[in-house]
């Protein structure tokens, strides 16, 4: 399905923009420039996070923590190799991207672990960071149920990622 969806979407957006008399290519370039800026601005975060992830991986800490917590996360069907990602993603987007990319590279993008890691990344937000941004902006003194509800949603996203990858790609 996605084989037709993406090209179809691109052509449709281009045609619609042209029909709306948007100066298509310059506008595209302006957006691409913003994308480049985003990529450059997340580089320092990624350097900081990926280095630490590699150090933790080399020291054996990730495997150790995953081993301890695997039974807990296993209840929700989250594979052992993705436990560290489930812990890091709610706190840091850059950290999640770093660890997720490491998993996708290590196990291969079309492997079960690689796919689950990708879906986990795509289906979750940096929830605790988001709460701190909004809470800080408004000066809220207490967040009531925001944190537990957000963590429930993260857990739901991760459990659903593992389950849906298994359903959608039954032969891996």
């Amino acid at each position: 399905m996605q084989a037709t969806l993406i090209p179809l979407l691109l052509a449709a957006i281009g045609l619609y923009a042209l029909y709306k008399q948007v100066d298509v290519f310059p506008v595209f370039l302006r957006g691409a420039q913003k994308g480049l800026h985003t990529a450059v601005s997340i580089l320092p975060t990624l350097v900081g996070m990926l280095t630490v992830v590699y150090m933790l991986r080399a020291s054996g800490a990730i495997d150790l923590a995953a081993g301890w917590l695997a039974p807990l996360f296993g209840v929700f069907g989250i594979p052992k190799d993705c436990v560290a990602l489930a812990l890091l993603k709610p706190i840091s987007g850059g950290g999640g991207l770093a660890l997720g990319s490491e998993l996708i590279g290590r196990y291969g993008p079309d492997s079960y672990i690689g796919r689950v890691a990708a879906v986990m990344l795509g289906a979750s937000e940096t929830s605790l960071y988001t709460i701190s941004i909004y809470g800080g902006h408004l000066g809220l003194k207490q967040m009531r149920y925001a944190i537990p509800a957000a963590l429930c949603a993260d857990l739901a996203a991760f459990a659903a990622s593992a389950a849906l990858v298994k359903c959608y790609f039954p032969d891996i």
Binding site: Y145, A153, A157
Partner: protein, 194 residues
């Protein structure tokens, strides 16, 4: 918070590496990790630029606004009395539309504007349910095109980088449902102070 966690990770790598006798490997990792981060960014920057450009067209052509207007009736029931306020609901819908389209640069300012308006409607005190609904909605991801993840998969040689889209949608929708439902169910335990 992140600073403490980051330092904790460094300390953990030291202690764990010393115990397992792998400090050599930990030291090597300092060089490879930093280098890999640059390689990763370079390999995903192309797709990030491209989608960012496409999404600029989505905004400029008015499609984002259209989506935002379509979302408004769906979002109204979540915001109780505040749903009667046009300004608040427009900001909320624009925030959700920006999230759906993956316009991360636009989504946060729009979300903060919506949060501000909702907070004002509630008299700017306590932690009102409408504001918390908006915040928790922003903690669950709802992205139509997971372009960054697809870029990482493409960089790693995936046969079809976007083939994870349906599971991503499924897991996203499930997590949005869970955040809204669990927030609602938890209200009695977390009463608002007046």
């Amino acid at each position: 918070m992140l600073s403490a966690i980051w330092v904790a990770f460094l300390v953990l790598a030291l202690i764990c590496g010393a115990f397992t006798g792998r400090l050599d490997a930990v030291t090597t990792a300092v060089g490879t990790g930093a280098g890999e981060a640059v390689t990763l960014i370079i390999s995903i920057a192309g797709l990030m630029c491209f989608w960012s450009g496409i999404m600029e067209l989505v905004q400029a052509s008015g499609l984002a606004e259209k989506l935002s207007r379509m979302l408004m009736p769906l979002l109204r029931p979540l915001f109780g009395k505040a749903s009667a306020d046009r300004e608040a609901m427009e900001a909320v819908s624009a925030n959700v539309a920006a999230n759906l389209l993956g316009l991360s640069n636009a989504a946060t300012p729009l979300g903060l504007r919506a949060a501000d308006r909702l907070y004002t409607l509630e008299g700017r005190r306590g932690s009102p349910d409408t504001v918390l609904t908006l915040i928790t909605l922003n903690t669950a991801s709802i992205q139509l095109i997971p372009s960054t993840v697809a870029a990482v998969r493409a960089a790693c040689g995936a046969a079809s980088p976007f083939d994870i889209m349906l599971p991503v949608w499924g897991a996203s929708i499930f997590s949005v449902a869970v955040v809204l439902l669990s927030g609602r169910l938890m209200r009695p335990w977390f009463r608002a102070e007046k």
